[in-house]
């Protein structure tokens, strides 16, 4: 039982690390709007 719990803990800990630092990084936020800072010559 303890071994199972430890495994769960380890998995949940990896999941949290991803949430905290990684998972969101990989997605382009389509629903958000952005205001670009561009040069005149870029347009």
């Amino acid at each position: 039982m303890k071994k199972l719990r430890r495994k769960f803990l380890k998995l949940s800990s990896i999941f949290s690390v991803l949430i905290f630092t990684g998972l969101f990084n990989l997605k382009f936020q389509n629903k958000k709007k952005f205001v670009w800072y561009l040069k005149k010559s870029d347009k």
Binding site: S16, V17, L26, K33, Y37, D42, K43
Partner: protein, 467 residues
């Protein structure tokens, strides 16, 4: 050694009792062990996570909505390190001085802190311009359970008692005499010489507030308990392209070459009255992400869009999200209070947070991101787009408030703080507080590194006091 139930201990044999087995409490215990000082650790939770134990950490908030507070405070051995992964960076000299501490002294414990957190002792900074520095973090994923539980089980100097909740302290004449604890519904008292509270960035305040409520004299003049509570906002500030070749050329070989994110922070020496901020430019290799970014810019800037398409294909241009860690200004009315309408299973009031997010933090985020966007544009380092919410100073999407800071803040005087520069509660000779609740200012840095550093400092101070 692990105790199965509480037994009376000789006061002088275990002169230090530590409440909480998170990074603060365990670091202190391990350092005391090295100095041959025995201690008893009281942990409210069990060896592992369980829902009943976690129910003691239910919390209500009043004011601005806070995200993920319950998930970032775990009531179990190792505390929140059980689900933690953090970019570690020590406080700067300026941060330490602002807290009233001696930066040379705190720095002495940096190498030992790195050993505890299992990271390299390298935190370089490289100047980009007058506003920004490129900074180096070290990533720690140390789980204190995995690293230290079996060590403590075998230790003769450290005793550990699990599933035992600290209710409050009792004492008179500016001294704590006993800690009142509860285990399986039964109350008992623990006596010792030194009492160290390390229960976390919210719980430390709650326990001191309950102690104040239960005692007529103890803490009666300490009116700042729970006050100046802060958090870090973790938000998406924008998106951007980075031309690494131009970036490296601007920094004249001082670029800190690392895989993954480029970390940038506001230049602290040039901040004046502003707040600090950390920027994390993720450099993404995902083809879909790159396509979406290029599409987004081709619509409004076709010339630049064409130019960058080639550069992205030959990998000299990186793109990604820009995340921000925002410092908040300490505000007296942002506070932890006792929630008298909601009690835990032992009928002790839970904590409640009264909190309003700071406008200063938002305007600071906007102005610093604008500076970065203009720098990228002028020096052709790439292009940056600000999220519309930041641009218009609207309520932004909060990705999580994982850090809980303040509430038992450090300071010189009882008029504006709870503990002194030795982490000792003002006007009480034997009660100390460790953890991020001590922070006077939030900075943008993750708190764990500093929490451990402060714990090591206290171990040396206790050694002097006890021997």
């Amino acid at each position: 050694m692990i105790l199965n139930s509480f037994v009376e201990l000789e006061e002088n044999k275990f002169p230090v009792v530590i409440f909480g087995s998170g990074p603060a409490g365990l670091s202190l215990a391990l350092e005391l062990e090295k100095k041959n000082i025995n201690c008893l650790i009281i942990e409210a939770g069990d060896e592992f996570y369980n829902d009943e134990s976690q129910s003691y950490f239910k919390i209500n908030t009043e004011g601005t909505n806070l995200k993920d507070i319950p998930n970032s405070r775990l009531r179990q051995f190792g505390g929140t390190s059980a689900s933690w992964g953090g970019w570690c960076k020590p406080f700067s000299d300026l941060d330490i001085k602002k807290a009233g501490l001696n930066s040379d002294e705190i720095k002495k414990y940096q190498s030992e802190t790195c050993k505890i957190l299992g990271i390299k002792n390298s935190f370089r900074e490289s100047n980009i311009n007058e506003d920004f520095n490129q900074i180096e973090f070290q990533y720690s994923d140390v789980n204190f359970y995995e690293k230290y539980f079996f060590h403590i089980k075998k230790s003769k100097n450290i005793l550990l008692l699990l599933n035992t909740q600290l209710s409050h302290f009792e004492g008179e004449n500016k001294k704590v005499e006993k800690a009142v604890c509860i285990s399986s519904g039964k109350y008992f008292n623990i006596k010792s010489r030194e009492f160290i509270l390390c229960c976390g960035g919210i719980e430390n305040s709650r326990i001191l507030l309950w102690t104040k409520f239960k005692n007529k004299n103890l803490l009666k003049d300490n009116s700042n308990i729970g006050k100046y509570w802060m958090t870090h906002y973790w938000i998406l500030g924008g998106i951007g392209f980075v031309d690494l070749k131009n970036f490296k050329s601007l920094m004249q070989n001082n670029f800190l070459d690392r895989d993954g994110e480029i970390h940038i922070a506001s230049n602290e020496n040039n901040l004046k009255n502003k707040l600090q901020l950390g920027l994390y430019l993720s450099t993404n290799e995902d083809q879909n992400f790159i396509k979406e970014m290029v599409k987004s810019i081709l619509c409004i800037a076709p010339e630049y869009g064409k130019k960058i398409t080639k550069s992205i294909l030959n990998k000299s241009l990186k793109c990604g999200n820009i995340f921000m860690h925002l410092e908040e200004d300490p505000i007296y009315d942002n506070e932890i209070v006792l929630d008298k309408n909601n009690k835990d299973l032992n009928q002790i009031p839970l904590a409640k947070i009264k909190y309003k997010s700071s406008l200063k933090s938002k305007t600071n985020a906007k102005s610093e991101l604008e500076k970065l966007a203009n720098l990228f544009k002028q020096k052709d380092l790439g292009r940056v787009a600000l999220s519309n919410e930041i641009y218009n100073l609207k309520e932004f999407e909060n990705l999580g408030n994982y850090h809980h800071l303040g509430g038992t803040r450090i300071g010189n005087s009882i008029e504006d703080s709870v503990i002194d520069k030795d982490f000792k509660v003002h006007d009480i000779s034997n009660l100390y507080v460790l953890g991020s609740s001590n922070f006077r200012f939030g900075t943008y840095k993750n708190p764990t590194f500093t929490i451990v550093q402060y714990s090591i400092k206290l171990s040396y101070d206790l050694k002097k006091k006890l021997i």
